[in-house]
Structures are given as C-alpha cells and as structure tokens.
C-alpha cells in the first residue's frame, strides 16, 4: 500500500488521558466530542483512562465508544502514580487486542498519557499529543513538568495545541520543532447551547451578569471578590448569578455578607454541566475572570447562548471570539469593572440569535475532527525511526537529563522485549470490531 493510500485509510486511534468521564471538564469534553466525530467519520476510536472508584473495566458509551477504565487509582489531582514500565503490560495488551495504529495523548499533566506515549513509541506506533493548558516556567513544579514534557515530546510524530498562544507556550517549554505543532481550537456543541431570551428578567431594566467557573485562584475568584461590589455600587440595575464551587467560595460568601449583597448576588453552588445552559440563558453578560487560559470553552458556551462576554485578557482568550462579541480587560479589578460598564453600553446592539448562528458557523466539533484527521495523516507520513535514532533525540535533551531519558527508554525497550518473549503478540486475541451505528453506516455509504 503506498503512502497516499495509507494516509486515507481508516485510523485505529487510542485516546489516552487521566481525565475522562465521569470526571467533568474541558479535556474530558474534548476527548468525548472528538471521539464521537471521528467515529462518525468511520475511524475506530477507543479511550483509555484510569478507574474512577468502582468504575473499572470496559464500558461502552454512545455510538459504541469503548472506554477502558484501567484499574489504577488516582494518586494526586486525578493522576495515576507514575511507574514508567508498570503500565506497559496492560497498555501493550490493549494496543494489540484493538489493533491500534495511532495513540493520541491528551494533557501534559496526565501521567497515564506520558506513559502511554512512551510505550506506543517503543512498540513502533504513531503518536500524537494534544496540550490543553498553559504552564509557567519559573516555579519548581513547572520546571519539572516541562522536563517531563520535553521527554515525551522529543519523540512524538505530531502535536496539537488549542490556540496559537498555547503553541508558543508548548514549543518554548518543550523545545519541540514548531513545524510539528498544529493549532486546532476547541469547539462547542451549539445544538445544546441555544439562546432563550424569555428566561431573562423582562419588564425591568435589570441586567444579569453570569459567572460559572470553579472558584479557585487560577480562575480568578479573588478578582471577583473585588469586582462584584464595585460593579454593584456603580450600576444599581446589575445582578450577579455565580455558579460553581471551590475553595474560594468562602471568600465570595464573606464579600456578600460584608457588602449586604444577598439580594443582588445569587450563589448557586456546583452546577452540573447538563444545567449550565439553563443558568447561562438567564443572563445578559458572561464574566470570565481567569488568570490563565489556553482557550476557554466556557466563553464559547456563553456566546452560543447569546450572552455578551467580558473576559480578562490572558493567554489564548483573544483568539476565541470576534471583537464585537467580547470585551477584554487586563486582570485588574478597576479595568474589569470598566469593561463591564462598556459591555452594559453595548448590550442593546447584541442579538442573541444572530450571535448563536455566527457561533454555529465558526465552531463545530466535526471541523475539529476533520482537522485532527489531517494531523493523523501527517503522522503516518512521518519517518518511522528505529531505537538508535530515537535515542539520539532523547540524548539531545540535556547533559544529565539526556542520559537519564536514554536509560528510561532502553529499560522500557528491554521490558517490552521480555513481554514479547513471555506472551508473543500473535498469541493475544484480537477483539472483533463493533459494527458502526446504522446512522453512521448510512452516512458513510
């Protein structure tokens, strides 16, 4: 089969990450929607993640998306304990059973992702990595994390970032060749997030500002504590709805008590994702106060529901929406308050339904899947290096780190050879492929 035919063939992809359902977040959403769209385009997609409590083993999601919940419990912040070769037996079994040709890892903070990418390269599979977040350079944790990322990305075929800012951040942190990095923004399910102006207060000039985020430092909860009282003082017609939970919730409750804003600030607590839309449509303006964001799907969801967005000017946020749909300000309380004032003046010009229609044209998960397919095809065209060439790339990672990385890779290779001797791949049974859902089959035909 020549290269052209190989590139157009059906891919057999394994998505690996520590972050997947039933946990909820941007990475989990991304993996799920991307997998569904790739299944619809005729590829085989499997997801591997760690066990969540008693949820262990094989589960099937919508349209036959198979998920392996590998029985390794989280160690810290939803990540499994890094064991280097400890996950090689089970991952090798999954690669061989499912006939995987390409492994797609998600999120730099996922230890399972890093291990899976290493094992996949050892076994000669194609490897793609997607980075979803921005990280720093200066503190101790970031320095170590960046070194681990440098190790993994030294040997990936292609990488994907969710914004150009994220690409710059990833390239600087890992030393990866920028030509290997593709930028594919996230998308939003516009069918789920539809505007409903009837849910807003009518008959009054009340303006509702919605905030939905985890109430943690990174998401700018401390900024909210400063901004909300100031905006309530300057604009008597404004009311806030705050959804979400976290360690900073106590500070927001204290602020509400101190300034007597109980009737103007509603604290909803944790909002399940299925109910986020019902909260968003109650507002006119969506406020995002994050201190760092690679992309920010929450803004897309708000825009899809017809809300005008006010956001901090950080990370990849300026790349998300056109200038007439978002008001940006530096992450300073006074500037953010001014931005909210400008947004209130712009409100009469905003039509929720035209905003929703524009979002439908700008963002779709099927478009993300098509672009990701291009990345997969590109990875197939990449040269397939042997162990010595791979070791030369690892050796270049640093005077001490290079040697350590080479040692890790050699040990990994030896363990893989031992597993091949103990249980050859040809003795492992291959699972039959499930037939695609009838709707997908009709569309493919």
């Amino acid at each position: 089969m020549d290269t052209q035919q190989k590139c157009q063939m059906r891919h057999r992809v394994l998505m690996v990450s520590d972050f997947f359902y039933p946990n909820f977040g941007g990475v989990e959403n991304h993996i799920y929607y991307l997998s569904q769209c790739l299944l619809q385009r005729g590829h085989k997609v499997i997801v591997a993640t760690h066990a969540y409590g008693k949820r262990s083993g094989v589960r099937y999601m919508t349209n036959g998306l198979k998920v392996y919940y590998i029985p390794r419990l989280p160690f810290i912040q939803q990540d499994v304990l890094p064991t280097l070769c400890g996950s090689l037996p089970i991952l090798r079994t999954i690669f061989v059973r499912e006939g995987i040709t390409l492994v797609h890892g998600h999120q730099a903070f996922s230890t399972l992702c890093h291990e899976a990418l290493l094992h996949a390269r050892t076994m000669g599979l194609r490897v793609v990595f997607t980075d979803h977040s921005l990280y720093g350079f200066a503190d101790l944790g970031s320095i170590h994390m960046n070194k681990v990322l440098q190790f993994t990305l030294a040997d990936v075929h292609q990488a994907i970032c969710v914004s150009h800012t994220s690409k710059e951040n990833t390239v600087l942190r890992s030393g990866l060749n920028p030509e290997k990095v593709f930028v594919i923004p996230n998308a939003v399910d516009t069918a789920m997030f539809r505007p409903d102006p009837s849910m807003r207060p009518c008959g009054t000039d009340e303006i509702v500002i919605v905030v939905i985020s985890r109430l943690v430092y990174r998401k700018g909860a401390d900024l909210l504590v400063e901004v909300i009282p100031e905006v309530c003082r300057l604009y008597p017609q404004v009311r806030f709805i705050v959804g979400g939970d976290g360690p900073k919730r106590v500070r927001l409750e204290e602020m509400r008590e101190k300034h007597g804003l109980q009737d103007r600030v509603d604290m909803l607590g944790a909002v399940p994702h299925a109910e986020v839309r019902s909260v968003l449509v109650r507002g006119h303006i969506f406020l995002n106060s994050s201190l760092t964001e690679a992309f920010c799907i929450a803004i897309l969801e708000a825009a899809s529901c017809g809300l005008l967005t006010v956001s901090t000017l950080v990370g990849g946020v300026p790349e998300v929406l056109p200038p007439d749909m978002i008001v940006l300000a530096p992450p300073v309380p006074a500037e953010l308050s001014n931005a909210i004032g400008r947004a209130i003046e712009l409100l009469p010009q905003v039509d929720p339904f035209s905003m929703h229609n524009r979002m439908k044209n700008l963002y779709s998960w099927m478009d993300v899947a098509k672009r990701t397919e291009v990345v997969y095809d590109q990875s197939l065209r990449s040269d397939d290096d042997d162990l010595l060439l791979r070791l030369s790339r690892y050796y270049a990672c640093g005077p001490w780190a290079g040697k350590l990385f080479c040692l890790v890779v050699v040990i990994n290779f030896i363990v893989w050879c031992f597993l091949e001797w103990q249980q050859p791949a040809k003795d492992l049974e291959v699972t039959p492929d499930l037939p695609p859902p009838q709707a997908f089959a009709d569309e493919l035909n």
Binding site: G57, V58, R72, I90, T93, I94, E429, P432
Partner: protein, 195 residues
C-alpha cells in the same frame, strides 16, 4: 457408539482447527432418539514445554538453595530445617490445586452444571437451575496487567455475575459457541442447537 439407545456424538475439537497454545476446546453432545440430553463444553489446559510440576519443583529447589546460602551467612542452618518441612507441604498444596479442565454441561429443561476437574482427579461442581438464568453474557475483564474475555451468567435476583470458567481464560473464539449453546437452552428449553 451407542449404549442403551443413547447416541453419543462427539463434537468438533476447536484445538484441531486453530492451535491455541494454552487451551483445547472439546464439545460433546449426548442425545437419545434425536432428543438432546447433555451438551458438554470442555476446556482443557495444555501442557507445553517442561511439565509445570517439574518447573515448580526446580523453582522450589532454587529457592531452598538461595535461602540456605543466606542462612549460612547469617545463622548456622537452624531455620533451614523448617524450610525443608514447609516447602514440600506448599508444593503438595499447589499440586492439589492444579486444574486439568473446566466444563460447562448444558442440560436442557434442567439447568447448567459448571465443573472444575483438578489434576488430582477431584471434581468441583456447581449446578445453576435453568429458571434462575436470565442471560449468558460475554464481557471483557481488565486487570492491572492484562485484559481478557470471560463468559458469565446473569442470574435473576442476584447482582453478582456467575462465572462459567474460574481458572481458565479461553479466547473469544471458544466462548462464542458455548454462549450460543447456553442462549439456545435458556431461550428454548426444549430445543438445543449443536455447534
């Protein structure tokens, strides 16, 4: 061959068609004047290379030699005498638990018998009445080191699965015809299709 009006028809041996390195599948159908009596599906554990007993014996002797070497450095062989008593007992216990074959015996209108035959010729049996079986299912189990398919019975009013094979892990190609026979017995108790 027939005895007292019964015809014993030997089914195919899966191991002859596709050589599985670990298991051999034999399907056995007994019927009387066209009416099926018993349908037995046996999975035999193959012995390959060195006999496993010999392997374990060599392992035990190696461990004894290592421990004796260690004790000769630390103490003067006192605990070695205990090891000489315990090791053979452990070996005998292991030998008793070695499985030779596992079988699923489908008895139309009655139920399913699950058998485990050990190398010591002892047999452990468990009978599941037909009216208690909701459905036989094939599912995949994931362990920290491997992943394999298994056949289990869903029982009415019971939340736990009843595994048909406890000690062997036959491949999917052997489990599918067994499940088909179980489904046929559960859905149509008076009929049974041969594989």
């Amino acid at each position: 061959m027939s005895e007292q009006g019964r015809i014993r028809r030997k089914g195919y041996e899966k191991g002859d068609e596709e050589e599985h390195p670990l298991y051999r599948y034999v399907s056995d159908l007994e019927e009387q004047t066209g009416f099926p009596l018993l349908h037995t599906h046996r999975i035999f554990l193959k012995r390959r290379g060195l006999d496993s007993r010999l392997k374990v014996l060599i392992l035990v002797l190696a461990c004894l030699a290592l421990v004796s070497r260690l004790f000769s450095v630390v103490k003067r062989g006192e605990s070695l005498q205990w090891m000489m008593v315990i090791a053979p007992l452990l070996y005998l216990q292991w030998d008793r638990c070695r499985v030779e074959q596992e079988a699923v015996v489908v008895m139309p209108t009655l139920g399913v018998q699950l058998e485990t035959v050990y190398c010591s010729k002892s047999v452990k049996r468990r009978f599941v009445p037909l009216h208690r079986i909701l459905l036989p299912v094939i599912n995949e189990a994931v362990t920290p080191t491997t992943c394999y398919s298994y056949l289990a019975l869903l029982l009415r009013d019971e939340s736990r699965l009843t595994l048909t094979f406890l000690h062997v892990r036959p491949p999917l190609s052997m489990l599918v015809p067994i499940r088909a026979a179980l489904c046929a017995a559960v859905e149509q108790p008076s009929l049974q299709t041969a594989p």
